[in-house]
Symmetry: C3
Subunit: 378 residues, 3 copies
């Protein structure tokens, strides 16, 4: 899993674009039945519209000495996501409204996007910014923002019944490791595990790799009636690569099957896990659990998004996640799925106590408990 994460890390992903396509192609090599699907820009999806597709070839801010003081090629975090094409000379004063830094975390580049309002900007460390002189800069953003597609991956693994378990994870984040490459990476290996089972699973698994928010909304706008009839449990898989303790964000209804199963597994396998109720939601479970959609989807994480300082910065890097953490997370998800798979209500087919004796399941001679064990003495 860690190798896959390393392989995917440098790709510039966003909610649309070739970075998403490349990411999904790498995953398809591991789980070949994965289907890659596209929704055209402009498609109405509930209250939203699928935006134009964004792609970047190059982007930089060059100083008077011809030096690239901010360079997209060094880190794709340097460019504000969905920046429009731009080219021109600017004074530092003119440039500042387009620059984003984190004064409290002066060595880290923040992650900033402007999906639904046309804009452009650069992100840089506060230290780097402090060194910028009051001179004239040449700004170049060689991007395109044009009608295209929103791309997502979908994998259906048929089980014995058509009742489904949903796994959903995001493929829209550029070079950040925990949030969010750990999610799609662990989900890919969970899919592999399910595909390689000797025995068909009891439930059907629907596994989707989508951009956050717009992706789940678009997916639900096409499938929510179908999903509502069939989905018995689900997870948004996110933030599963860091070294922190496990945590679980409950579904809106708080006591659905997935809540009971996950809390049961955590209780026995991950002492001192954090438990969040739905008021702390923040990822696609917001859409899945929303009123009228009402899918029972929780989120099993390690350290929750927003809860660690490296979140949405360049410090959420390859060193921030560990192979061991990814393994443990995969294992914990397997335990949850196994618990869901094994959770059955057995129904008696005979009335009254069955006659166990004639099936060799009960002693034939009825005695007090202390007789048999004293045979030895005799």
């Amino acid at each position: 899993m860690y190798s896959l994460l390393q392989r995917l890390f440098p790709i510039c992903r966003s909610i649309t674009g070739d970075g998403v396509r490349e990411t999904l192609a790498v995953m398809k090599a591991i789980i070949p039945p994965l289907k890659i699907k596209e929704i055209p820009s402009g498609t109405k999806v509930f209250d939203w519209t699928v935006p134009d597709e964004w792609n970047v070839r190059d982007a930089y801010v060059r100083n008077e000495s011809g030096e690239r003081v901010i360079d997209f090629k060094k880190s794709n975090l340097h460019l504000v996501g969905y920046s429009t094409p731009f080219e021109g000379f600017m004074t530092l004063k003119e440039l500042i409204p387009h620059l984003y830094t984190l004064p409290d975390q002066p060595d880290w580049i923040p992650y900033v996007t402007s999906y639904y309002e046309r804009n452009w900007g650069f992100c840089l460390s506060h230290r780097q910014f402090s060194e910028m002189k009051d001179e004239t800069y040449f700004v170049k953003i060689d991007s395109s923002l044009e009608p295209g597609h929103l791309t997502y991956g979908e994998l259906l693994i048929e089980g014995e019944t058509d009742r489904e378990i949903l796994l959903s994870t995001n493929i829209c984040h550029p070079s950040m490791a925990n949030n969010e490459l750990s999610g799609p990476v662990v989900t890919t290996f969970l899919a592999k595990y399910l595909l390689e089972r000797v025995k068909k699973p009891h439930y059907t698994y629907r596994i989707i790799f989508i951009p956050e928010t717009i992706g789940s909304i678009a997916y639900l706008s096409m499938h929510h009636n179908y999903l509502k009839k069939r989905t018995i449990a689900g997870y948004t898989v996110t933030c599963v690569g860091d070294r922190g303790k496990f945590s679980y964000l409950k579904t809106r209804r708080e006591n659905t099957l997935v809540d009971r199963v996950t809390l049961h597994v955590l209780k026995h396998k991950a002492k001192n896990s954090g438990i969040y109720d739905f008021l702390k939601r923040g990822s696609d479970e917001m859409q899945y659990c929303s009123p009228g959609i009402d899918l029972p989807v929780g989120s099993l994480m390690r350290t929750k998004y927003h809860e660690y300082p490296e979140y949405h910065t360049s410090a959420d890097n390859l060193a921030f996640v560990s192979p061991k953490s990814l393994d443990e997370s995969l294992e914990m998800y397997k335990l949850c799925l196994d618990a869901l798979e094994k959770n059955r209500i057995y129904k008696n087919t005979v009335l009254c106590e069955p006659q166990l004796g004639r099936r060799g399941l009960y002693h034939q001679i009825s005695t007090k408990e202390n007789i048999q064990k004293n045979y030895a003495v005799l």
Copy 2:
């Protein structure tokens, strides 16, 4: 409110009669849409019958010196409510079975009635009684007890919906201030407040001024099916003028909307309020909540009837209540009604999260929380 209370205090009210009509006429001057209605004596109302109408012109006990030792004109509490006409000479011994005193509260005149059995009597302070000599007294009760009407007031304030909130209070008590003039006085001003609102209230308000027990039973016998369909909450307004803490008597079902709303308001606005469950009922909520009627009617009071020594005596007088207490009670009732008015369940009209950004309700640029506030530093 205190002036109104002073104005109404001397009137001789009972469950029927001209005192009730006069009282309602004074209120109608303040809340003109109040309708005054009458039900004829003899009308069957569930298990009860509307009694004959009672009116008193004069009543006294005169000693041999021609002195009125007990005089209805000094306090209408001196005459047992619903005393039949009587005139005659009696020894003290013959008179005693018709006299009522409170030996434990020797300066107070008790309040006694005999609505449903024809009888007559006088109430006096125990001290006054102790001074009565063993002589012959002339007793005169110039009352009438004849077919007439039960009179009550009704005010309907239309809201946006036909679902109703019921306010009910008693106008059957003679000269007592807390129980019961505070109830109708606060209710009158609550009605005034509702009538003077600029915006129509959400709920329709049904406000009734009735004699206790027989009044609510008579009213329910005519309207209970209608009320059951529409009433979402209600109060019997009583004992709201004394200086004690607030208390609330819960509905029979204990967890209806009015219970939740009132306990919520009290929790935040009147610490250490007393809470009574329905077993402690004693006023018209008995009828409203009775099995088969099942209206959700509680009672928000200050010190509950029966729970203060002055209750049903001449000590429940104008000094026992205060303008401030009346004001606070009015305010508390307004808070409860406002909470009822504002209690709504909003329903989403779109599925999934609405796109707040394009409605100017969400930042267009998605960043970590600490970026924007540091713009100033830049």
Copy 3:
């Protein structure tokens, strides 16, 4: 009750056979409407089959001196229940696999059965076993195990309604006093009490005297649909003769009427009673409460089976039970049945408060509480 228990003690009962018939005949003399019924061997009853009928004339192990070292005539516990006929010479070593003792309770004979696998054996005290020499023994079991019948008793006492209370007790145990003669003995007198009531009971009582497990299964296979429609409560009556505290084993659903009634009675009449939940079940309540049968049947006992050392041994003898204990148990069952009988929901036939005054149920003159009691002073 103790005399009846003494009378029944020596009879060799089992799940079938003449001992059961004799036992039921003795009971019928006390409660003549008792009906004695039979089900043929080989009848399929749910997952079970009614076994062949077993009867014993004699059984012993004789040593070389011609002495009966183990003798069924001394105690019917000496013979393993349902022992097949056998006759032959055996060394001690050959005999040992057919002998059952309790090394931890060396003076007591255990109670052993082999109903559903053809076998034979003897039970004896460990002390008696220790004295057996290594010689040749003559073994004789003069029993028969042939198609016949399973015999049970049934008594229906009609009440005002056809809703039923079930009492069930076992008549399959040989010479043991608490488990199980106390059960049928107390049940017989409970039946007598119900039959002798002057007034018909409200509920119909179904009282059955059956062999454990196979008896209740057979009975249910014939009647379960009927019982399910009518049974509102029931008990398996067992272990009610010892000197221990009362205990109650709850129904599977834990909060049925019989649970609430019995716990209520115990709370008020038998402090410190033991309460067992259904996981501790062990007698016919297992069948009555089983999924799909779902009758609300609990068990009110003194010391529960398995919970006292004398259980299923010769020490569960006439001295182990007492007349006083039997009486108390009968009384406790009567209290429970009375509570069930008296448990009614009264429905108002008038709306609002009824007018109690005109029925002489309320004072005609309404005063403060302290007036009346001071009349004396006047």
